[in-house]
């Protein structure tokens, strides 16, 4: 006796949630839909996502959105104007430049830092972690001790030392942050790898004659990615803060680049009388960091298989 499968329209809710997917595609989409639903349940996570999307839009259309040139100011007539002055919504800085325009263009730098650091640091961490977790033995010992060395220094101090050695500039700041932020990812990837290193599906792949390279690349890494994504997203706020910190100390982006941290540094001198010069970029950093944190939180809840109940 067989119960006829009720016909579902493709891409409908039922089709996505079906516990008997008829194709790989349906299974994958269904899985993504579940993750999205769990993510969307979390209102704060949606706020985070909205902030991030806003950041992307602002960065992409900076040329259109910015009312003024971010690097050419009017020193003579428009210096240190308070927020709300006609034409200068968030006021102007000590070079007579529009703070709003600088914030808008600065979002590009912030995104650049975040994306490049993620692109450099996450793969390094992933490779080091999975290789060391899967190989074990002396490879594990060596790689993990190196990781330990990096972890022994506070991130910012190490980044400072690196930038001081490489010379100030946004590229070097990105490099320094990337070099200092991979160790936690390696640790996570290794821990994840260890949990399924001896599981049956790995053994099965092995029996089928897969090389360790293939196993790590095709079977171990994909399983580590979701926890890594969560961690990277949660770290983004920290990366933004470190980049801003380096900029504040004059080691990050160089003038006239409208980097938010450097903007705070130049506004510090006026904090008693012209608070907005330092406060506006401060707010920008706060909002974007908050956005990344909320998003990361939501992603963790959504991607964590242990809480998925499956």
């Amino acid at each position: 006796m067989s119960i006829a499968e009720p016909e579902t329209r493709p891409y409908s809710r039922e089709w996505l949630l079906s516990d008997r997917p008829t194709s790989r595609r349906q299974a994958r989409l269904g899985r993504a839909y579940i993750v999205w639903r769990r993510f969307a349940e979390n209102r704060l996570a949606l706020v985070g996502l909205a902030i991030l999307i806003l950041l992307l839009v602002v960065a992409a259309f900076a040329d259109v959105l910015a009312p003024h040139n971010p690097v050419q100011g009017d020193l003579r007539n428009a210096r240190l104007l308070p927020p709300g002055t006609a034409g200068y919504l968030l006021g102007t800085d000590d070079q007579g430049r529009d703070i709003l325009s600088r914030l808008i263009y600065g979002s590009r730098l912030t995104l650049l830092v975040v994306v490049l650091v993620a692109v450099i640091a996450a793969p390094i961490g992933l490779i080091v972690g999975t290789v060391s977790g899967y190989a074990g033995g002396w490879i594990d010992a060596v790689l993990m001790r190196i990781t330990d060395i990096f972890l022994a220094f506070p991130k910012l101090v190490l980044a400072l030392a690196l930038v001081a050695a490489l010379g100030p500039g946004i590229e070097n700041a990105i490099l320094a942050i990337a070099v200092t932020s991979w160790p936690p990812y390696a640790r996570i990837a290794r821990a994840e790898t260890l949990t399924f290193r001896h599981s049956e599906f790995i053994a099965a792949v092995k029996l089928m004659g897969a090389s360790p390279f293939r196993i790590v690349l095709r079977h171990v890494m994909p399983l580590c990615v979701s926890s890594l994504i969560v961690r990277v997203t949660l770290d983004m706020a920290g990366i933004i803060l470190i980049a801003a910190g380096l900029g504040f100390l004059g080691l990050g982006a160089q003038p006239p680049l409208p980097e938010w941290g450097a903007m705070i540094a130049s506004g510090r001198r006026f904090i008693l009388d012209q608070w907005w010069v330092a406060a506006m970029p401060g707010f920008a950093i706060l909002i974007v960091s908050l956005g990344f944190n909320l998003l990361g939180d939501g992603l963790r809840d959504a991607l964590d298989p242990k809480e998925a109940g499956q």
């Binding site: 003579r76 210096r79 000590d94 004059g250 160089q254 003038p255 001198r269 009388d273």
Partner: protein, 535 residues
Amino acid sequence: MIHKLNKRFRMLSTSAALSLMLLAVPQAFAVTPKDTLVIGLAFDDIITLDPGQAFEFSAGEIGGNSYDRLVRLDINDTSKVTPDLAESWTVSDDGLTYTFKLKQGLKFASGNPITADDVAYSFERSVKIDGPPAFILNQFGLKKDNITQKAVAKDANTFVLTLDQSYAPSFVLNCLTATVAAVVDKKLVSQHVTNDDYGNAWLKTNFAGSGPYKVREWRANEVVVLERNDNYWGEKPKLNRVIYRHMKESAGQRLALDNGDIDVARNLEPNDIDAVAKKGTTVTSTPKGSVFYFSLNQKNPNLKKPEVVEAMKYLVDYDAIGATLIKGVGEIHQTFLPKGILGSLDEKPYKFDVAKAKELLAKAGLKDGFTVTMDVRNTQPTTGIAESLQQTFAQAGIKMELIPGDGKQTLTKYRARTHDIYIGLWGVDYWDPNSNAETFTSNPNNADDGTTKTLAWRNAWDIPELTKETKSGFVERDPAKRAAIYESLQKKVLASGPFVLVYQQTEVAGVGKGVKDFKLGPTFDTNYVFTVSKD
């Protein structure tokens, strides 16, 4: 219950600890004492108080208030000198011998009499200690091996100084107003000599002078205390004590001034000046002997072109910078001699003019501009001005990259002639036009291994004729003719020199209520505090 108790106990112990801490920290004065002047000043530059070795701004100020010299600058007309310990002086006809008659019956703070022997000893030790300011005396041929023959006490009240060639008397006397020529108490210093150091180690933190105030103590980056010298020969100071408190930040000084913790704030930045002025604090200012400039390395093929040099001078928004970034701390000034020095020329032919600059650049074959770097020290207002220049240069198509660094980094690069553009402050070493002329317009050997590393050399500006003209300046004995030489030098630098002068530094002080007659002098050595009184 236990929880509650615990909580209460914790609160109690915390507040007890807090109040203990409050007690331990010295209470800030609500008002400064009536007989004491308290000055907030960043004096982290002081290395030593020995007048024979000190060459720092703050140490100069302490020296100016505590040590006497043969002659002092005339505060009212800084192109002249007035007698201090010397009563009168004569210059021999060949210009080699200077004879000083000392005032009679003067005493050091220690009570020892001031004699010509002390003066000769002071010259001897300054030359032999060979500190940074020793060159001021060395340039007259006073060297380690001949100083005891060249600076001689003829009798108790006659001091004779012999030079190696005839110099302009104004040049010699101007140099003798420097702290390095201050007179120390030979008897007292001799008691503290270790290893033939002329008492240098002892005098670093101690005092052996005769000025209106004596130095009671100096604690690095903390405090300098001056006390009235009751043996002073002139009009005695009205206040018993002057205390310098080390305060680095402008905002900190401003708050302390508002609270009455200090009487005078000395390192206020433009916006803090505005703020204290609004609250009714008196703001006093005097132009100083420092000029702010940026210089174009002539090794750079683009910067070498005369049209580019001229164009750069049109690409500074002088008016806007003067009205904003350096408001209160500087005045636009375009010649290399600061106002107040003999022969100083006050001409401002250049205005911000992008069209003119573009035209000049086109003539130089650089219609589309070029790329250049500028080494910038990480302090204000240098960074602010550099950023402003970056913007105005961009309007003429010149793309300038700023390379930030601390003072040491940028200077090292500058001295090695590996910069494109250097921006910074240049202060006169001694109050005479030769001080700046010698560095801006003299370059005896433009080779990389040249030994006279003047500013002209640092920018690889090869100028044999100007070097000769500069030399004629310090031997010309007629002051009027001498001034004319320096005017001509300034005009030449203004027209074609690779130095773009932007402003002359003004020193500013916020003076609290009740303080009377506080005035800043034209040099750091003449920031006199002994004329001040309080209500």
